[in-house]
Assembly symmetry: C2
Homo-oligomer: 225 residues x 2
DNA sequence: GTGCTATTCTAACACACGTTAGCTAATGGC
DNA sequence: GCCATTAGCTAACGTGTGTTAGAATAGCAC
C-alpha cells in the first residue's frame, strides 16, 4: 500500500474546504462534484482520488465541522483555572462556541443546512459526534448545578437544547463588523444566566421567596429525551 | 380569464403540503417535481397547472410557513387581557411560537433547511416576511421594557435573535410523547426571563446591587444589525 | 345528455450529474 | 537521468431533471 505524499493532504484539504463552501450554499443534492472541483482548482474526476465519492466527501465535511468546534470549546474550558465559577465556565463555553462556529463558518453552515438531506446512514454516524458534544454541555450544566450555583428546578437537557440551538443560529446571522463575538457572547451569557427580566422587588413582608408562577411548575417536567 | 374551481384549490393545497414534506427531507435541489407530484397523487406535468415552476412552489412553501406561524403567535397575544404582565406576554409568545412551528412542522423544517439554497431573489422576497415577524418580537420586547419590567441593559435585537434561534431549533428535535409543548415552553420561558443561575445571596452590607461583571459590560453593546 | 372549461396525463426535449477507466503529467527516491 | 508511484485529466457511460405542448379525462352548468 503506497504512502500518499504531502501534496495529497494539501489537495485533500483544499477539496474539503471547497466542499464545505459549496455544500453551504447549494445543499446536498445541489452540490455537484464539478462545482466542488472547480472551487478547488481541479477537475471533477480528480476528486475520486481523494474521496471515494460524494457521500464520503459530505461525511468528512460534517465530521470535521463538529470536531473542530468541540475541540475549541473544550480547550477553552480546559484553560480556565480550577477556581473558575459556574458562571465563568458557562460564559466561557458560550463565547468559545460562538467563536468556534464562526471560525469554521463554512463547515458550520454546511452542516446546519445539509444535515437533514444526507443519506440516513451518514446522518446516524454523524449524530454520534453531535451527541457527544451535546453531552459535554450537559455535563457542564450538571457540574454547575452540583456546585450549587444553578437553580435546582431547571430541566437541564431542555435548557441545553435551547442554548445550543440559539448559539448555533448565530452562524446564520453573524456579520463581522457589527457586534463583536465578545459582545454577543456577553449578551447571551447574561441572558442565559440571569434572564431578561428586572429582578422583582423584594417586599419585606414576603422575604426572599418569589410568588409561585405557572412557569415554575413547568420546570419540574421530565427530560425531553 | 377562467375562474378556477373548488377542486383546483384542493389540489393546490395538496401539492403545497406535499412540497413542504419533500423539500423538508430533500432540500431544494434534491426535491424533484416528480417526487412532489407523486406525494400529491399527481404526475409531475400537472404541477405546472397550479404553480408556474419549482421556484414558485418553494416560494409558496416558505411564505406559507412563516405566515402561519406569525398569525398564530399574534392571535395568541391578542387574546391576552390588557392587564397581562410583560412576563405573561413573553411566556405566551414563546409557547405560541413553539406550538405554531410544530403545528406547521413540515413548513418550518422545509424553510430552515432550504432557505439558504434557494435563488437569491426568492430569499430576498421571503426575508421581508421573516423580518416583519422578527420586528413583531422586537416590539414585544420593547413594550415590556417600556413598562419597566425588563433589565434596562439588554441589547434587545441580540436577545431576540438568541430567543428565536433557540425556539426555531425546537422544530428539529421535538418529538410528540416526550415533554409537552407546554412544559417545554415553561422551561424556556423561565430560562429566558429568569436565567439559569441561582439568584446570588444578598449580603446585607452590599444591599441589593450585584457586583459588576464583565458580562454586564457586554450588555451595553450596540445592535448586531 | 351535451358542450364547455377545468384539470390531469403523457411523451419528449434539452440539459445535467456522479462516476469510471484509461491516459497523462508530476513528483520523489535512487 | 531513470523509474515507480502519486496525482490529476479526460471522455464517456448510465441515469436523472425541469419543463412543455398537446392529448385525454373530469367536472359542472344547462
Amino acid at each position: 500500500m503506497a504512502v500518499k505524499g504531502a501534496k495529497s493532504s494539501i489537495s485533500q484539504r483544499r477539496v474539503l474546504d471547497a466542499a464545505a463552501r459549496i455544500f453551504r450554499d447549494s445543499g446536498y443534492a445541489g452540490t455537484t462534484m464539478r462545482a466542488v472541483a472547480d472551487e478547488a482548482g481541479l477537475q471533477a474526476g480528480s476528486l475520486y482520488y481523494h474521496y471515494k465519492g460524494k457521500d464520503e466527501l459530505i461525511s468528512a465535511v460534517l465530521d470535521s465541522g463538529v470536531s473542530q468546534v468541540a475541540t475549541l470549546v473544550k480547550d477553552a474550558l480546559a484553560a480556565l483555572p480550577a477556581t473558575a465559577t459556574g458562571r465563568q465556565r458557562i460564559e466561557t463555553a458560550i463565547e468559545a462556541h460562538i467563536a468556534a462556529i464562526i471560525a469554521v463558518g463554512d463547515y458550520t453552515l454546511a452542516t446546519r443546512r445539509v444535515f437533514g438531506q444526507v443519506p440516513q446512514a451518514i446522518r446516524t454516524r454523524h449524530m454520534r459526534l453531535r451527541d457527544a458534544y451535546g453531552a459535554f454541555w450537559d455535563q457542564l450544566f450538571e457540574d454547575v448545578r452540583a456546585a450549587g450555583e444553578m437553580r435546582p428546578d431547571a430541566d437541564l437537557k431542555l435548557c441545553r437544547l435551547f442554548v445550543l440551538g440559539a448559539l448555533n443560529w448565530t452562524a446564520e446571522w453573524y456579520k463581522p463588523g457589527a457586534a463583536s463575538i465578545h459582545d454577543i457572547a456577553g449578551t447571551f451569557g447574561t441572558l442565559v444566566l440571569d434572564g431578561l427580566l428586572q429582578p422583582a422587588p423584594q417586599p419585606a413582608s414576603r422575604g426572599r421567596a418569589r410568588a409561585p408562577r405557572g412557569s415554575d411548575h413547568a420546570l419540574l417536567s421530565t427530560a425531553a429525551r
